[in-house]
Every structure is written in structure tokens, then in C-alpha cells.
């Protein structure tokens, strides 16, 4: 396929929500008026300085931003290549980048007068962030979570319940993130009048991929300013893990037009790309699911296939539509890391830097372990440490003990 290179990689989507052929609004008619309302409300909020000012206040004093850009000295010494910086999104309140987006959407929901918030969650990080902000603003919160994920991410389930949210284990389909999203959409279609659907990643029908990206772009904006302050220049490369791809998009987007910056997204290769995995770009092709056209894992009949990843947050058979477009236009390189590689990276970062990463960004660290040694010492590499690993400690502990 011959795809024209755009003048800017940051101008999308078009007014119909398309990034090239990707994106769009593939939803039932019942939801269509709701997403048009949301688009209108978001456009108005973006133009309102009071909205941004209020958000900035909460980002600073409630979330704890800016998150540090930290030079990982021992990891750098160990890998003997690029100078590695960690963008410490795991230090945010609630322990991951998810809170940036949830804050924005909850502020929107409040502007729209919606009193009931629903969300889907995989690892539970988005669910926890949503439950947290609902508690803060006194809103009803219902979180859909695949029954398999409820089992493997118990600490987050308990946290959500303590925060007053109702966690609904989803028993349909493969009982993971995609089914949680189906169930959330079914709830939304049923409770149209009072409910706001707080989507956790840069996917879903337009305008979600755009608004989630915009709310997460604080990550890349801060990184740019911080790197300027520390090193006096742009970074040379960016690395982030991708399930739906919100932490990656948040880091990447402000740098897309800086052509000197190499950008790497890391999908979950599970047991390996020839076996069960969750790498939609490496192993999928364009299709339509959950409101948008994007790369999906599916069979020859267009039936969605089970994804597999050790990390519940990456265990999704699709990817945000803007990532699909950035892949096709060649701006971002999409790599993948296996369960075993992620586990090794999880342990390495814990031991070298005293930072226990979530299994999701451990996939990004795994590729840093490959990329960094091949880069010169003056190469500045930023990896998004999108979440902390507390939630994964029981699961990883079991795996490591089992192996010993």
C-alpha cells in the first residue's frame, strides 16, 4: 500500500474521526446521539480556559504532577548504551498514567451533568483511577472487569471496592478486557440518560481516541520540557508499552513532528507471535470492533480472537486507531515483547533501580534492554514507566516461586 506522508502527524483525526482509514464511529444508533453530545461538550470544554485551569489544579495537587523524568543510572550502566530516562507515571496518585485521562473525562461528565460513571478495566488501573475520581467528586461508579482479570488482579478489585465502586465481573466471551468493554457498552446503551462512559484507552468511537490522547498528552508535553531542562535538547528515542495504547500515545503525540525522535511502541507477544499473544499490529489486520476500525486479532471469518498476555492491561485483541495509522504511515515502530521477556525486565528494574514496575511497562523495559545497548552513550532514551507493580506482586511471586 502506498500511503502519502502527511505534513503533520498531529493534525488528525478528520471531522468524522478518521486517522487515514482507521477510527470512525461504528456504534449502535442508540449511542450515536450520545457520542455526538460528548464531542460537542469536549469541543466546548477545550475552548474554555476555566476547564483547563481547573484540570491543571487537580493534576498538580491531587494527581501529583508533574511526574519526574528520572535518569536510570544503574540500568544505563548495566545496558552499556543509551542514557535511559524513566518517565515516572507510576508515581501518580492511583499508581499509573490512567488517572490523567480519567480526571479529564470526569470533569467532562460533571460539565455534562452526568451522575453515573461506568468504565471497563483490564489490569484494574483504569478502574481504580475511575473509582478514585468518582469518590472524590461523589459520583456513582460501576466498573466492568473480565472474570479472569478479577481473579488475577485481586489487589485492584479490593481497592475499587474500598473506593465505593461496584465491580461487575464479566462472564461473557473470553472474560477479559474486550468482554468488559462489550459489557460496558451494553450498560451504556441501557442507561443512556444519566450515564457517562469513561473509556480507559485511546480506542472506541470518535471522539474517545482523540480526547483520551489529549488528556494523556500531558506525559509527552512534560517530558519535552523536562528533557530540555536536564539535557538541553530533545530525546533521541521514546519507548512505551501498548495495549490499547493510551500511555504510549500520551508520550508520543507531542513528539510526532520532531523527526529526529525515534519512536517505539511495544505490544504484548504473550507466549510468542506464533502462539497465543496480544500483538494486534504484529499479528492482526484492519477490522471493526468497539466503535472503531483498527488492527485486530481475528480469524478468517472476522471473528475476534482471544488475546493472551501475562499482563491483564495489555490483554486486548485491538489497539487504538491512531496507532494503526502511525504504523501504516511508518512514523512509529511497533515491536513486541513476550511474557518471559517482560518478567525478566520486571525483575531487572526492581533490582537495579528499586522500582517495581507494573507488568505492562515491563514490556517496554524489555525492549529497552534490546535497543539501548545498540545506541551510543549520548543517545537519550525515554521509557514511559506507566504504572507501578504492586498489583502484580502476588501474580509474579507465584510465577517465580513456581519456576524455582
Amino acid at each position: 500500500m502506498n500511503i502519502a506522508k502527511p505534513n503533520s502527524y498531529r493534525s488528525g483525526p478528520d471531522e468524522r474521526g478518521h486517522f487515514g482509514i482507521f477510527g470512525g464511529r461504528f456504534v449502535a444508533e442508540t449511542l450515536m446521539p450520545l457520542i455526538l453530545d460528548l464531542e460537542k461538550a469536549y469541543t466546548a470544554a477545550k475552548a474554555d480556559p476555566a476547564f483547563q485551569a481547573e484540570m491543571n489544579g487537580y493534576l498538580k495537587n491531587y494527581v501529583g504532577r508533574p511526574s519526574p523524568l528520572y535518569f536510570a543510572e544503574r540500568l544505563t550502566e548495566h545496558l552499556r548504551g543509551a542514557k535511559i530516562y524513566l518517565k515516572r507515571e507510576e508515581l501518580n496518585h492511583t499508581g499509573s498514567h490512567k488517572v490523567n485521562n480519567v480526571l479529564g473525562q470526569i470533569m467532562l461528565a460533571r460539565r455534562m451533568g452526568k451522575k453515573r460513571i461506568i468504565a471497563e478495566t483490564g489490569a484494574g488501573q483504569h478502574g481504580v483511577a475511575t473509582a478514585t475520581l468518582c469518590a472524590r467528586f461523589g459520583l456513582e461508579c460501576v466498573v466492568y472487569m473480565g472474570a479472569v482479570d478479577v481473579e488475577r488482579q485481586q489487589p485492584n478489585v479490593i481497592r475499587m471496592e474500598m473506593l465505593g465502586a461496584k465491580v461487575m465481573p464479566v462472564q461473557s466471551g473470553t472474560r477479559t478486557l474486550k468482554d468488559a468493554m462489550n459489557e460496558a457498552l451494553r450498560d451504556w446503551v441501557t442507561n443512556v440518560h444519566n450515564t457517562f462512559y469513561c473509556i480507559g484507552t485511546v480506542a472506541g468511537p470518535h471522539p474517545y481516541p482523540t480526547l483520551v490522547r489529549d488528556f494523556q498528552s500531558v506525559i509527552g508535553d512534560e517530558t519535552k520540557a523536562q528533557m530540555q531542562e536536564i539535557e538541553g535538547r530533545l530525546p533521541d528515542s521514546l519507548v512505551a508499552c501498548i495495549g490499547g495504547g493510551s500511555n504510549a500515545m500520551g508520550l508520543f503525540h507531542p513528539f510526532l513532528d520532531d523527526s529526529s525522535v525515534e519512536i517505539f511502541g511495544v505490544e504484548a507477544a504473550g507466549h510468542g507471535l506464533t502462539q497465543l499473544h496480544a500483538a494486534s499490529i504484529a499479528g492482526g489486520r484492519p477490522g471493526v470492533l468497539h466503535g472503531n476500525r483498527t488492527y485486530l486479532l481475528m480469524d478468517a471469518d472476522g471473528q475476534i480472537q482471544d488475546a493472551h498476555s501475562i499482563s491483564a492491561g495489555l490483554d486486548y485483541p485491538g489497539i487504538g486507531p491512531e496507532h494503526s495509522w502511525l504504523h501504516e504511515v511508518g512514523r512509529v515502530n511497533y515491536l513486541s515483547a513476550t511474557d518471559d521477556e517482560a518478567l525478566a525486565a520486571f525483575q531487572l528494574l526492581s533490582k537495579l533501580e528499586g522500582i517495581i514496575p507494573a507488568l505492562e511497562p515491563a514490556h517496554a523495559i524489555a525492549k529497552v534492554m534490546e535497543l539501548a545497548p545498540k545506541r551510543p552513550r549520548d543517545h537519550l532514551m525515554v521509557v514511559n514507566l506507566s504504572g507501578r507493580g504492586d498489583k502484580d506482586v502476588p501474580q509474579v511471586g507465584d510465577i517465580l516461586r513456581g519456576k524455582k
Binding site: 449502535a28 450515536m32 450520545l34 466471551g173 462489550n182 468497539h290 466503535g291 471469518d301
Partner: protein
């Protein structure tokens, strides 16, 4: 162009009665039984057949139809085999309108042009694709109209007067009014609210309006048929099918009859309706 759908609604109008529209899932519980069920529907009083295309992620469907789709997929049902089922049905029945209902991805992966050609050849009259609102008409709606297939749009309680013209613009065959905000098989539709909604839509179109979601009994089918041009029943038939299966989910000697008997009872309900004067 006149499709079997247009012809059937014209006939019903001249008879002064509403249509009884039935929904079953293609390939549920297996392709052979499914064909027998589809053949039995018109004989039991169905005026229009909606045939579900199985899909792994049916976002607008409740547990019953989700499970029906998974039963069909598990036994190897595909879109290609769904079209074969239609072709086999057409060997004996060239008059009953048949509409495929489902989600876009299997069609997109099959290839839109090839799908439309194959569907037309197989004897499909129309399409209801849940996740293609008018905003995405270029994908399938416009090509379907060009290929001579009706594209039947869903109108819902959230479709207001301002939006209705856009929803109706490229709709043909009939309009499917979703009686409740929700998924299939959920809450019951309120006949009076449905009557008001149908009257509202009628101000924007001359197409027949069929009403579905939440209609389970002959009485409910009759109440709706008094307010609209047709009653659609799906989940209740799918449940009757499921209740006839053995412990392993396989068809039994009762399966085809279970669906046929409920179809006949529902058809009686619809036929007993007193249509409001136009």
C-alpha cells in the same frame, strides 16, 4: 427496484394487518437444524425472517443472543455458511423476505462487494447492521442500495426529530424501531410509548415501521402490532430453541417444533391485532 420486503409489506397493507417478524441465529444450534427452523418459520406464520450472523462480540445483544451466536460459532458457523443457509432456504421459498442482521466486521473481512454480490445471489433481501449508523453510510449502506438490497436502519428512543431525517435518508424496506434503550431481550416495551414513537417516525417517512426489543409473548406482540406495521420477536424464540437442547447444547427431536410452536402462537397474537386506521 422492488424487493420481497416491499412486496410483502404491500400485501400485508392490503390485508390490513401488521407483519410478524422473527429473528433466529444462523447455525444455532447446528447448520442443518437451523435450516429446518428457518424453513418452519413462514409455515408457522412468520411474515419476515431476520437471520442473525454469528459474531464473537455482539455489543447490542443480551445474554440469550450472545449465547446463540457462540453456539453457532462453536460448531463452525461462518458468514459464508450463513449465505449457504439462505441459498438452501430459497430452494423452497422464493417469497418470504429474508434480512441478515448482525455486526459489520465479518462483512468487512469477507469483502463488501463480494458479500453484496453473494448475498443477492443467495436470496437475501435486506441488511440490518447494528454498528453502522448513518455517519458510516459509505461503508456498506450505499453499496448495498446500489446492489439492490434494502438497508434497514434502526431508530431508537434516543433518535430525536432532528436526527431522524439523517437516519431515514438511505433507509429502505422498513424501519426497525428499537422500542427500548437497551440490549436485546432486556426490558419490556411499553405499547403506548411505542405508539407515540411510531407516530413520530411516521411524520418523517412512508416506510413501514416494525418494532422490536423486549417483545416476548403473543399478547405483547399483539399490543405492538396495534401500534406499528410489524412486531419483531427474537430473544423469546432463541430461548425456546435453547430450552429444547440437550445437556451438551445439541439439537433434540423437540428443537424445530419448539421454535415453530412459539412462532405460531406469536403469529396468532399479531394476526389478532386491530390495526389503527391510518
Amino acid at each position: 427496484m422492488t424487493t420481497r420486503i416491499d412486496t410483502r409489506f404491500a400485501e400485508l397493507k392490503s390485508q390490513g394487518r401488521a407483519a410478524f417478524v422473527t429473528y433466529v441465529m444462523a447455525g444455532d444450534p447446528d447448520p442443518a437444524t437451523s435450516l429446518e427452523i428457518v424453513k418452519a418459520l413462514p409455515k408457522s406464520g412468520a411474515d419476515v425472517i431476520e437471520l442473525g450472523i454469528p459474531f464473537t462480540d455482539p455489543m447490542a445483544d443480551g445474554p440469550s443472543i450472545q449465547a446463540a451466536g457462540l453456539r453457532a460459532l462453536k460448531i463452525g458457523m461462518t458468514l459464508k455458511r450463513t449465505l449457504e443457509l439462505v441459498r438452501d432456504f430459497r430452494k423452497d421459498d422464493n417469497v418470504t423476505p429474508l434480512v441478515l442482521m448482525g455486526y459489520y466486521n465479518p462483512i468487512y473481512i469477507y469483502g463488501v462487494d463480494k458479500f453484496l454480490a453473494d448475498a443477492k445471489t443467495a436470496g437475501v433481501d435486506g441488511l440490518i447492521i447494528v454498528d453502522l449508523p448513518p455517519e458510516e453510510d459509505d461503508e456498506l449502506c450505499i453499496p448495498a442500495l446500489k446492489a439492490g438490497l434494502n438497508f434497514i436502519r434502526l431508530a431508537t428512543p434516543t433518535t430525536d426529530d432532528k436526527r431522524l431525517p439523517a437516519v431515514l435518508a438511505n433507509t429502505s424496506g422498513f424501519v426497525y424501531y428499537v422500542s427500548i434503550a437497551g440490549i436485546t431481550g432486556a426490558a419490556a416495551a411499553d405499547a403506548n410509548a411505542v405508539g407515540e414513537a411510531v407516530a413520530r417516525i411516521k411524520r418523517h417517512t412512508r416506510l413501514p415501521i416494525c418494532v422490536g426489543f423486549g417483545i416476548r409473548t403473543p399478547e405483547a406482540a399483539r399490543a405492538i402490532a396495534e401500534k406499528a406495521d410489524g412486531s419483531v420477536v427474537g430473544t423469546a424464540l432463541v430461548d425456546a430453541l435453547k430450552n429444547s437442547l440437550d445437556a451438551e447444547g445439541r439439537a433434540t427431536a423437540k428443537t424445530v417444533n419448539a421454535v415453530a410452536e412459539l412462532t405460531a402462537a406469536l403469529a396468532q397474537g399479531v394476526k389478532g391485532a386491530q390495526q389503527a386506521a391510518e
